[in-house]
């Protein structure tokens, strides 16, 4: 924990700030509570609470009262009908001023209300922090300290697990990508500062380049937030990537699946703006296909396989349809792909499946399903077909349906950044990157950028639960040849 701003410091932030969190455990409950505690609790809530006549009067409410009213956002749009309880210090659980907003809304509305309060100046409570304050405020006597410590420990574990559960593989992948971009830029700057004799000249024109990179990262983070705001643009379907060497028949397979009479094709703009996804129904199974074929067709005419591009699509998928050209057999590229897929499956074996299609069965084959099976032992199925003649192609649909019914393939709803904790972290990171751009605009030198880049990096790390540790130093040494 050494780099610019240690994350752990959050633990003991000033006792005099105001914290907020959803105090009810599950979304299933009929009523949910957002609890706000601290010296500004009443002031912050007053901004968003109005009584039936639209008057913001929370500050005048007496202690230990409950009132009916509405929560409205900054623009005055009423979001929800609520009951608000008010406890003035020291007559509350935490012994601080406390407001509890009771809402009938489900998880979605609670999250929106919590976010309003956070935007209004509260910060998100750490696990067990209300209890900790109650303890430190003398509300809980010393004999119960053990219990409080247990509670904090277990709540932390729970929070960590649920936070991870709320993170789809796709989001954490995205967040990791963002982080590694930021880390690389930091390491670049640091290497130039640390070893100016070797690297100083690399910084010429760098601020402009970094400004562009920050702009791009900000776009990506803002679109993450946007999708989160909409609550759930649920991407129905099993994420499926079609991969294979050029000319193995990826386009044909896509056309086959999309052109199939039973398939309904829709287009959904992807979360990252440059991918296109197609939703295809096969019998009772919905597939969300990632079009890696299109990428290849426009750019990679060369014999080089688009493994880097396919990699991204594969990492976000639950199902991989991997095409091998039976008339060419298993090539060196196929071995690379196989190695990569092996690792991919190993990462999350419970949900990742791979079907190999031995295409072009109409041409003289140089390999067969048995030898493919022994070459790629991790395949869940190896099918032989000809997408040109259609022979054997229906077998694929049947196999997918069969796997789905057997529970082998699971439809994972894409829920992006639904947790307020995650969104707060992304917003903080956005703020930090904006400060980087501000420093660039002011003509500051590169070492100033590093400060806010590190903040952005640390904020995003809270989403995936990754601490800062020695990442920067590691990156400097692994990416840059240091030392005279």
């Amino acid at each position: 924990m050494n780099q610019l701003y240690p994350d752990n410091i959050r633990v003991d932030r000033a006792q005099n700030d105001t914290i907020a969190a959803i105090a009810t455990a599950s979304a299933a409950a009929g009523i949910g509570i957002v609890r706000v505690s601290g010296p500004d609790a009443i002031g912050i809530c007053e901004k968003f609470y109005e009584n039936a006549r639209g008057i913001h009067d929370l500050k005048e409410h007496a202690s230990n009262t409950i009132s009916y009213g509405f929560i409205a956002d900054e623009d005055g749009n009423r979001m929800d009908e609520v009951m608000v309880s008010l406890f003035r210090a020291p007559h509350s659980y935490t012994t601080e001023d406390t407001v509890e907003i009771n809402s009938h809304g489900g998880r979605y509305l609670l999250d929106r209300i919590l976010e309003l309060v956070l935007r209004g100046g509260a910060r998100l409570a750490e696990p067990g922090e209300f209890t900790k304050r109650a303890f430190l405020g003398g509300r809980i006597d010393l004999s119960r300290a053990e219990a409080v410590m247990d509670l904090i420990s277990s709540q932390n574990d729970f929070a960590h697990k649920t936070a991870l559960a709320q993170l789809s593989g796709r989001v954490s992948e995205k967040v990791r990508d963002l982080r590694s971009s930021i880390l690389y830029e930091m390491a670049f700057i640091e290497s130039a500062i640390d070893d100016p004799d070797t690297y100083a000249s690399d910084l010429e024109g760098y601020p402009d380049k970094l400004d562009g990179i920050c702009g791009q990262l900000l776009d990506e983070m803002e679109s993450l937030l946007e999708i989160g705001e909409k609550g759930a643009v649920l991407k129905e379907g099993i994420r499926t990537a079609i991969i294979g060497r050029p000319n193995a028949g990826k386009s044909s397979l896509l056309n086959y699946l999309a052109g199939n009479e039973r398939a309904i094709v829709t287009e959904i703009a992807g979360t990252t703006r440059d991918t296109l996804e197609e939703s295809v129904r096969i019998g009772s199974v919905q597939l969300c296909l990632t079009d890696t074929a299109g990428i290849r067709d426009t750019e990679d005419r060369v014999e080089k396989i688009g493994i880097e591009r396919a990699r991204a699509a594969v990492n976000q998928s639950e199902l991989v349809l991997y095409l091998i050209d039976a008339s060419e057999g298993i090539t060196r590229e196929d071995r690379d792909i196989a190695l990569f897929l092996k690792q991919w499956k190993k990462d999350i074996p419970s949900v990742r499946r791979c079907i190999i299609l031995l295409n072009k069965s109409d041409l003289p084959p140089v390999t067969d399903t048995d030898s493919v099976h022994s070459f790629f032992t991790d395949a869940d199925a190896v099918l032989s077909c000809s997408l040109r003649t259609g022979e054997g192609a229906d077998e694929l649909g049947r196999k997918i349906e069969e796997m789905y019914r057997a529970g082998e393939l699971q439809q994972q709803n894409e829920v992006m950044l639904t947790s307020a904790r995650h969104r707060e972290a992304v917003r903080e990171a956005c703020g930090s990157l904006s400060l980087v751009r501000q420093s660039i605009a002011l003509g500051m030198s590169e070492d100033f950028f590093a400060i806010d880049l590190m903040n952005a990096y640390a904020s995003l790390g809270r989403i995936t639960g990754e601490a800062v540790e020695d990442d920067l130093v590691e990156e400097i040494f692994s990416k840059f040849c240091m030392g005279k």
Partner: protein, 646 residues
């Protein structure tokens, strides 16, 4: 009958750490003996010929602010000086000098020789003695025997190779790379310390007996050549700065404006790399002969070629070893290849075609400790009065060593005086970052200072080391009252001038607009303070003088601080806020008596790590890898509970 000599402090090793440690103790009035394998190797620079550099320059300034010797000595013996990163922000400016190695060593030896209370002794220390070893030897130790089992070992002396015992109350181990060292040039392995010096061996057994395990690190150094055999016309000259800034606050800048010696830049090429690749199996590292862990920031040319194969050339700097020698240092090409491969590969580098090697490049392996076994004071957790400093603690670099030596020396003296140890915080000094990292982190290679390791680097600048640290040097007794008062006055002048500049407002009068225009700056729309004008990128404190007729005449160092503090105020304030948060955790002490088994709810991993590191504050605990924020909260509540009861 054992011959024994009475003293206060024994320092083992007279490298950069040992020299600072011994000087600090003797200057603070304690009788000190410094042991060295060879008096001719005092303050030797067995690797590169520079002092300072990125972040290391900060350390040298801090050593000076605290009353150490390194800065003063290099100011007397440098042959080239350069301020690095001047086009960057003030936090990353760093001074780097080329030393005249022989002069540096000679000058430091003179200082040691003439230091009151200090004795130089050429000998190998073979044993470390605690009260249990000398039980029957002195009345003071006798009473210990009864409760020996429960008592913690305490240093009472050292034994040297002649059998003579030096009785003392503190020992500072600074063996650098000498302990059990071996040097490798390809298949040729010699059991020597750096530069062919005799190695030490016995201390290993003593450490084992005290229950302090050792580990093995490695590092390497490039070849030295006869400079007359190089063709400099094929290289690019690397001159020093036209105006030299001294390292020490006590050095008169006029004294360092000397005639400088240049360095030279050339590059490796594919031919070099091909020779290396072809002979990789003969490199001790790649052949698996070397067991030690080497530093990544100082890779051998073999490592560079293998790990960065996409680079078709690497920088090579030719640096003089001194003013009165022909020897030059081939910076960037450290290696452990056999001699014949070295001869071939160096000769592929432009300018080195006919080079004659004086000393081969070699890798060196040595014993050191994991500094996790130390307290932040650099005293071992296992043995009272036993301190460790320098490369022996798993660091690398002359500056890192000297910094630790100085702190270990001050803290040994503080222990003898019954004072609390001097522990610099991460928010106060690079030295604080250095020692905290060494003691708190799991370092797997020799540790080098870097500016990116200092999270509050905007506050820890090389230009303000005196303002940050003089008071600690003064409290320790290494800085005079006069020196300290000078800094206090300087601080006051800076504060006054900043306040004045924020108050003095100038209007949009024609005369002012004209001055602004002549300075290439936009005209004023409304009145504003001089401070606001200084923040304009094209203006500065100096340039705004014309607009500021009442400006007092201030020294250059005061003006520099005024300018930096005004110009970077926003950033500095943000870091100060972070420091406030950080220090809250630092100030929550964890008492020595804590029993982590008694703290319920801690996760097992955290419990083990906390037991292993025994952090002294909540802040330090939070930096241990494997200790989560929730663990820290649990710990806080536990301490709160104990306090409530007490």
């Amino acid at each position: 009958m054992t011959y024994s000599i009475e003293t206060d402090v024994c320092v083992i090793g007279a490298g950069h750490a040992g020299c600072e440690a011994a000087l600090a103790c003797s200057r603070l009035g304690f009788r000190t003996v410094i042991f060295t394998m060879n008096v001719d190797s005092i303050a030797m620079m067995p690797c590169n010929p520079h002092i300072g550099g990125s972040s290391k320059g900060h350390l040298v300034r801090e050593i000076d602010a605290l009353g150490g010797e390194m800065a003063k000595n290099i100011d007397k013996t440098f042959i080239q000086s350069k301020m690095l990163n001047v086009s960057k922000g003030p936090a990353v400016h760093s001074l780097r000098t080329q030393a005249d190695k022989a002069e540096y060593s000679k000058s430091m030896r003179q200082i040691l020789e003439n230091q009151e209370n200090l004795i130089i002794r050429q000998a190998e220390v073979t044993d470390l003695l605690t009260q249990f070893d000398l039980e029957d030897d002195g009345p003071a130790e006798k009473e210990a025997s009864g409760k020996a089992a429960a008592e913690k070992p305490r240093i009472v002396g050292v034994r040297i190779n002649t059998g003579t015992v030096y009785r003392c109350r503190a020992v500072i181990i600074c063996t650098g790379t000498y302990l059990n060292a071996r040097c490798l040039v390809g298949e040729s392995i010699t059991e020597t310390g750096p530069g062919g010096m005799q190695r030490s061996t016995w201390l290993k057994d003593a450490m084992n007996r005290l229950g302090i395990p050792l580990r093995r690190f490695k590092t390497g150094t490039p070849a030295r050549m006869d400079g007359r055999t190089l063709d400099y016309s094929k290289m690019k000259i690397q001159p020093g700065d036209p105006v030299v800034v001294p390292f020490s606050y006590s050095t008169d800048p006029a004294d360092v404006q000397i005639e400088q010696v240049p360095c030279w830049l050339t590059y490796t090429n594919e031919e070099t790399h091909e020779i290396i690749r072809r002979n990789l199996d003969r490199s001790p590292i790649y052949a698996g002969i070397i067991e030690g862990t080497g530093p990544r920031y100082c890779p051998s040319i073999e490592d560079k070629v293998v790990k960065f194969s996409e680079k078709n050339r690497h920088h090579v700097f030719i640096e003089p070893e001194g003013r009165y020698t022909n020897e030059v240092y081939i910076d960037g090409m450290s290696s452990s290849m056999p001699d014949d491969v070295q001869q071939q590969m160096y000769r592929t580098v432009p300018g080195l075609e006919n080079c004659v090697i004086v000393k081969n490049a070699y890798a060196i392996e040595y014993d050191c400790i994991n500094a996790n076994q130390l307290k932040l004071s650099l005293e071992t957790k296992a043995v009272d009065g036993l301190f460790c400093a320098g490369q022996f603690n798993g660091s690398s670099g002359y500056e890192e060593a000297a910094a630790q030596g100085l702190i270990a020396g001050i803290n040994a003296a503080n222990m003898l005086r019954g004072r609390d140890p001097l522990i610099l915080k991460r928010s106060e000094a690079y030295i604080g970052v250095l020692i905290d990292d060494l003691v708190t982190k799991d370092n797997r290679e020799p540790y080098r200072m870097m500016t990116s390791r200092a999270e509050y680097r905007l506050l820890l600048r090389q230009d303000n080391a005196d303002l940050r640290l003089r008071k600690y040097g003064y409290e320790a007794g290494l800085i005079t009252q006069k020196q300290y008062e000078y800094v206090c006055e300087k601080e006051e002048k800076i504060r006054e001038e900043i306040n004045r500049l924020k108050k003095v407002r100038i209007g949009a009068a024609a005369a002012n607009q004209e001055i602004l225009q002549s300075l290439g700056s936009a005209p004023l729309k409304t009145a504003c303070s001089i401070a606001e004008l200084i923040c304009r990128p094209e203006l500065s404190y100096e340039k705004t003088a014309l607009l500021d007729p009442d400006r007092p005449s201030l020294s250059r160092d005061v003006a520099e601080q005024v300018e930096i503090n005004i110009r970077y105020e926003g950033y500095i304030d943000r870091q100060k806020k972070q420091v406030d948060q950080f220090e809250k955790l630092e100030h929550r002490r964890i008492p020595d008596w804590i029993d982590y088994d008694d703290v319920g709810s801690l996760r097992n991993e955290a419990r083990q790590k906390l037991k292993q590191f025994m952090p002294s504050s909540i802040g330090q605990a939070s930096r241990i890898s494997g200790v989560t924020p929730a663990d820290v909260t649990v710990l806080l509540i536990y301490l709160e509970k104990k306090r409530g009861r007490g």
